[in-house]
Symmetry: C2
Subunit: 146 residues, 2 copies
């Protein structure tokens, strides 16, 4: 097994290359899936929904975005009537974000399209492969450098 370190290196290169390719294509792909809802807004809305009630700071940390970027995106979402802000009664600096009914609904329909696309794309995969791939991604993201 003298070649193992080199094989590791090769795998790392592939991972790096393929993740980059994916990231680069993501915008175009997202634009196809939901032409109406701006890409980042959709992502933030989804996260707000996923963790029912979160703060702008949480979003910034999770997606490694500047707080100013998040501030504007959230403002846009509020303007579209998809997100509500409620000041935290205990700490007046904080605004807790929640999807509005319209936001939940917009998310649901987009989510449906998205799921359909993924289902078609990954239809050939076995349930085990899907579970395994999901685990790898979770593991990869969990070791995210802070």
């Amino acid at each position: 097994m003298a070649g193992a370190p080199r094989e590791r290196e090769e795998s790392l290169d592939v991972i790096q290359r393929e993740l980059t390719a994916f990231a680069r294509r993501a915008r175009a792909a997202a634009a196809r899936l939901h032409p109406d809802l701006p890409l980042v807004s959709y992502t933030l809305l989804a996260h707000i929904d996923y963790r029912q009630g979160c703060r702008a700071t949480d979003l910034a940390a999770h997606y490694m975005l500047d707080k100013s970027t998040v501030s504007r995106q959230v403002a846009a979402l509020e303007k579209l009537g998809l997100v509500e802000r409620h000041p935290d009664p205990d700490d007046h600096r904080i605004q807790v974000l929640h999807p509005t009914p319209a936001g939940t609904q917009a998310l649901a329909s987009t989510q449906a399209c998205r799921r359909a696309a993924y289902r078609e794309r990954l239809g050939e995969w076995t349930a085990d492969d899907l579970a395994c791939f999901a685990q790898y991604l979770l593991r990869y993201n969990s070791t995210d450098p802070r």
Copy 2:
């Protein structure tokens, strides 16, 4: 195994969510790894290098970018002296792109940083897991909708 379809669905959701999170963070991560070289330029340069000699159209197709975007990025790379364009003698419409020595070198040093980051990040992974993850990513990207 009545729950299998639901489990598939859950895996799909995780994959979707984690890939999105990764894509969203990619810009910030890239900025940390090579603050000098603009994000997209680096990506394109890497691809030009990987497939020794490619056309702007290839880049656009591979990363799902508009040709105008690629045109500008390539122009920037040329201005930085990292890429050369050579008209194809057989077809004067085509410009074949190659990294310059400076481009190759810039890529090498960045690549070294990148590899180090990945090595640290994925140091705990077994060679098998890395290979497996790499295969999943290749498989995922190969089924990219066109």
